[in-house]
C-alpha cells in the first residue's frame, strides 16, 4: 500500500508519514521558526525511520494555512517539489479544518485524546477554531460538525481578526460557540485527507491562505516618494 506524506508549516515544522491512515513516523518542531533549515531533514527523517523510498509515497498533503507568511510557504514549496520528484499526487488541506476535525473527534496533536466536541456542536452552536495570526490577531473559522466520513464542515471563514472584534461579532450575532485552539500537526492533515477521500472532497488546490495583503503600500505620489527617500 502506498504512503501519504503530510507537511504542515503553518505553525512549527510538522512532517508525518502514513500508510492507509496509520501513522508510521513523524517529526515535529513546535518552534515557529527555522522552517527552511528543518524541512529537508524532517522529510528525510520520516522516510528513513519508516525505511521507505520516496517513490513509494503516493500522496503528499500540505497544510495551506491560514498562517503567517514565511513559514507557510516553505512547507507548501517543499510539498510541491516532493510531489514533482517522487511522482506522488499533491493535495492541499486547510489547516484550520484539520484542527476542527481533531477537536470534534477529541484527538489532540500529540495523539492524546480529550473530550470529543462533536456531540456538543451543531449549526446553531458551532465550533470556533482559532489560531495565532501574530500582530495581535487570530485566524478563525466556524464548523457545524462532521460529515459521515468525518470531514469537518466549515460554515464560515477562514478569516483573520482581532480577538476583541471576533467576540463582538459573535455577541452581536448572538452565536454561542464551542471553542478550540488546538495546535496543528501534520498527522491531523492526513486524518482529514483520508476522510475527504471518503467524501470525494479531497482537493488538489495548494494555494497558500495568507488572508492578508503583502506588507506594502503604494506611494501616493511616486515622484514625491522618490524625492523624500534620501538614504
Amino acid at each position: 500500500m502506498s504512503y501519504t506524506l503530510a507537511i504542515d508549516t503553518s505553525a512549527g515544522t510538522s512532517v508525518s508519514l502514513h500508510q492507509g491512515g496509520k501513522l508510521i513516523a513523524e517529526v515535529e518542531y513546535l518552534e515557529n521558526m527555522k522552517h527552511a533549515e528543518r524541512i529537508g531533514s524532517s522529510i528525510a527523517e520520516v522516510l528513513k525511520v519508516a525505511g521507505v523510498e520516496a517513490n513509494r509515497v503516493g500522496a503528499v498533503v500540505v497544510g495551506r494555512g491560514p498562517a503567517p507568511f514565511t513559514g507557510l510557504r516553505i512547507g507548501i514549496a517543499a510539498g510541491m517539489m516532493f510531489a514533482e520528484g517522487s511522482g506522488a499526487k499533491l493535495f492541499g488541506v486547510v489547516s484550520l479544518d484539520a484542527i476542527a476535525k481533531a477537536a470534534l473527534e477529541g484527538t489532540a496533536a500529540d495523539g492524546s485524546s480529550g473530550q470529543p466536541l462533536a456531540a456538543l456542536v451543531s449549526a446553531e452552536t458551532p465550533l470556533l477554531v482559532t489560531a495565532d495570526a501574530r500582530r495581535s490577531e487570530v485566524y478563525w473559522a466556524l464548523y457545524s460538525g462532521l460529515t459521515s466520513n468525518g470531514v469537518a464542515i466549515c460554515i464560515e471563514g477562514p478569516g483573520v481578526i482581532k480577538p476583541a472584534a471576533l467576540e463582538a461579532m459573535l455577541q452581536e450575532r448572538n452565536i454561542q460557540v464551542q471553542r478550540t485552539s488546538l495546535p496543528i500537526a501534520a498527522r491531523q492533515l492526513t486524518a482529514l485527507f483520508e476522510a475527504q477521500l471518503g467524501d470525494g472532497s479531497a482537493n488538489t488546490d495548494v494555494t497558500a491562505l495568507y488572508l492578508r495583503e503583502a506588507d506594502a503600500t503604494v506611494p501616493r505620489d511616486l515622484r514625491e516618494a522618490g524625492k523624500k527617500v534620501s538614504g
Binding site: S41, R73, A214, A216
Partner: protein, 503 residues
C-alpha cells in the same frame, strides 16, 4: 599534466610498458606474454601517458560486455613522474570509459601498505569493502578490495545539475551538464512590483511559490530531461531577501530528498561570476567582476571561482539598480527605472549637468577605494529637479537622465578598471541586471580597450538573476570533488562572497 596527453595503448607500446612494469613492480611484474594478451583482449582498455619518447604511466580497465562490473587491472606511474596527478588522470579516464560502456561499479585491489594510492581511490569515491589476506606474493601483503558505485558518484562524468534561484524577484530554474547549458527558465514578478516603485519582499516571495512548479517543468521540457536524469540539486542560499530565499531552499531540499540526490547550497554572487563558464567552457582567472543589479553593486577579485573570491568593494547605501529606479520616479518615469532612463537618456546630453560621483574624492581612496555610493547622487538629482521646478524653468528630462546615467556609469567603470590596473588583472567580467544598460556596456568597452583589458559580458539572460548560474556553480563544485551540503543550511541574507558553498 593535462588529460589530453592520455591516449589508448597499442601493441607497439608493449616494450615500453614492460620496461615500466619491471621498474614499478620489481617482485611481482606480469610476464610479457600476459601483458600482451591484456593489451589485445577485446574486453580491456589500456591507456598510456608519454613524456616525449618515454612512457611514464599506464593503466588498464577490464569491462566484459554484458556485465555491470568493471575492474582496474593495473596502474603504474614511473617513480620520477609521481606526485603530478598522472595516476588520478588515468583513473578519471578509465572511469569515464567504464561509464561509457555502461558499467555500474568499478572494483580494484590495492596494496594494504600503499596509503598514497588508497588516498587517491578514496578521494575518487571508492570505498574499502573487503581485505584479501596475503594477496600480493611473494611479499605476503594484504589487498584492499575497493569499489566505486557510479550511481553514487559523478566522478568521471559531467554531472547534470538543476539550479534553483529565488533571492530577489526572479524565480529561476536552470539545468546544466558540466559546463554546458541545457535550460534556463526565468519567471519574474517585476510587473507586480511596478506600482510600488521597487521590489516588495513579500510580493516577491509569494510570486516564487506560484512560479516554482511551472518554471521547473518548463526547464525540464527545454532540456528534454526528466527529474530522474538529474544528478544533483543546487540552490541559492544567499545573499538576498530572506523570505524569498527560503522558498527556493524549501523547494530544493524536498526535491533532493524526493530524488535521493545530493544538494549544494551556493552563493548567488559567485554564481554570477561562474556563469561565464557556460559561454566559454571555462572561467579565465584571475578576473575582476563587476556585479550590478537592483540589489547588489559589488566589485570582486576572483583568483579562483571555488577557492579564492575576494570582495574589493560594494555599495555602502543603495544598489545602482535601486538608484535608477528612484531617479526614474523623480523624473516621472516608470519602473523598472533602468530601461526607462536608458530610453530617456538616448536623446540627452550626458555632460549637461555635472552630478556628483560618489566616493571618488582623494579622501575616499583610503577607506572606500572600491566601494560605491549612489544615495548622494540620487538626492542631488532630486534637488536639481526641485530647484528647476521651483523656478518654474522648463528642463530637459533627457538631459537629466543622460547626466545621471553618465555619473553612475562613470563611477562603476572607473572603479572596475582601476581595480584591474591596480591588481594587474587584464580581465573584467560584468554581471547583474544593470548590464542591460546600453551606456554601461559602451563605456566599459571603450575604457577596457584603452587599458588593454579583455571585457566579458555574458548573454543578458545569464547576466540577470537565473538558475543556470546556480546550477553551473553546483556542477563546478561537484567536478572539483566537493562534498554536498547537509540538509540543515538556512538562508543567509548577507552571505559573504568568500563562502562559495554553505555546508
Amino acid at each position: 599534466m593535462s588529460a589530453a596527453a592520455i591516449r589508448l595503448a597499442q601493441e607497439a607500446d608493449l616494450d615500453n610498458i614492460m620496461t615500466l612494469e619491471h621498474e614499478c613492480f620489481a617482485t611481482d611484474a606480469w610476464s610479457r606474454g600476459n601483458m600482451h594478451l591484456e593489451l589485445m583482449a577485446h574486453h580491456t582498455t589500456y591507456a598510456v601517458i608519454y613524456e616525449g619518447e618515454r612512457l611514464i604511466a599506464y593503466a588498464g580497465l577490464s569491462k566484459v560486455p554484458g556485465s555491470d562490473q568493471s575492474d582496474i587491472q593495473t596502474i603504474a606511474v614511473a617513480p620520477a613522474a609521481r606526485g603530478r596527478g598522472l595516476g588520478k588522470a588515468l583513473m578519471l579516464h578509465l572511469i569515464a570509459e567504464a561509464r561509457k560502456q555502461h558499467a555500474n561499479d568499478m572494483f580494484l585491489e590495492v596494496r594494504a601498505d600503499n596509503p598514497v594510492a588508497q588516498a587517491l581511490y578514496l578521494g575518487l569515491g571508492f570505498e574499502h569493502i573487503d581485505t584479501r589476506k596475503n594477496y600480493y606474493q611473494p611479499d605476503g601483503i594484504d589487498a584492499w578490495v575497493m569499489r566505486l558505485q557510479f550511481a553514487k558518484a559523478s566522478v568521471g562524468r559531467e554531472p547534470i545539475v538543476l539550479g534553483i534561484e529565488s533571492s530577489c524577484d526572479e524565480t529561476g530554474v536552470g539545468i546544466v551538464r558540466g559546463n554546458t547549458l541545457l535550460a534556463n527558465v526565468i519567471s519574474s514578478s517585476m510587473d507586480e512590483h511596478a506600482r510600488f516603485g521597487g521590489v516588495v519582499p513579500e510580493i516577491a516571495a509569494r510570486a516564487h511559490l506560484e512560479a516554482l512548479q511551472p518554471t521547473l517543468r518548463e526547464a525540464l521540457r527545454q532540456a528534454n530531461l526528466s527529474l530522474q536524469d538529474i544528478d544533483a540539486i543546487a540552490v541559492t542560499n544567499g545573499p538576498g531577501l530572506g523570505g524569498a530565499l527560503m522558498v527556493g531552499i524549501g523547494a530544493a531540499k524536498a526535491l533532493a530528498v524526493s530524488l535521493n540526490k545530493p544538494i549544494y547550497a551556493v552563493n548567488h554572487l559567485v554564481g554570477h561570476v561562474g556563469v561565464d563558464i557556460l559561454e566559454r567552457g571555462k572561467l579565465e582567472t584571475p578576473t575582476i567582476a563587476l556585479l550590478v543589479s537592483g540589489g547588489h553593486t559589488s566589485l570582486l577579485l576572483v583568483r579562483d571561482l571555488l577557492t579564492d573570491v575576494e570582495l574589493l568593494g560594494e555599495t555602502i547605501d543603495d544598489a545602482a539598480g535601486e538608484a535608477f529606479d528612484k531617479v526614474a520616479r523623480v523624473l516621472g518615469l516608470k519602473y523598472p527605472g533602468g530601461p526607462e532612463i536608458d530610453r530617456a537618456a538616448a536623446s540627452g546630453n550626458p555632460k549637461a549637468i555635472r552630478f556628483p560621483r560618489g566616493l571618488t574624492q582623494p579622501k575616499d581612496m583610503q577607506k572606500h577605494r572600491y566601494d560605491f555610493s549612489f544615495s548622494g547622487l540620487k538626492t542631488a538629482v532630486a534637488r536639481w529637479v526641485e530647484v528647476a521646478e521651483a523656478k518654474g524653468e522648463p528642463f530637459s528630462v533627457a538631459n537629466v537622465a543622460a547626466s545621471f546615467r553618465e555619473a553612475v556609469v562613470d563611477v562603476l567603470v572607473t572603479k572596475a578598471v582601476n581595480a584591474c590596473v591596480a591588481h594587474g588583472v587584464p580581465r573584467l567580467l560584468l554581471g547583474g541586471g544593470v548590464v542591460a544598460n546600453a551606456r554601461l556596456r559602451e563605456v566599459a568597452e571603450q575604457r577596457c580597450a584603452e587599458h588593454g583589458i579583455e571585457l566579458r559580458i555574458p548573454a543578458f539572460n545569464l547576466c540577470t538573476d537565473n538558475g543556470a548560474m546556480i546550477a553551473t556553480l553546483g556542477a563546478q563544485l561537484i567536478m572539483a570533488g566537493r562534498q554536498p551540503s547537509s540538509l540543515n543550511f538556512g538562508s543567509e541574507s548577507t552571505l559573504p562572497v568568500t563562502t562559495v558553498q554553505s555546508l
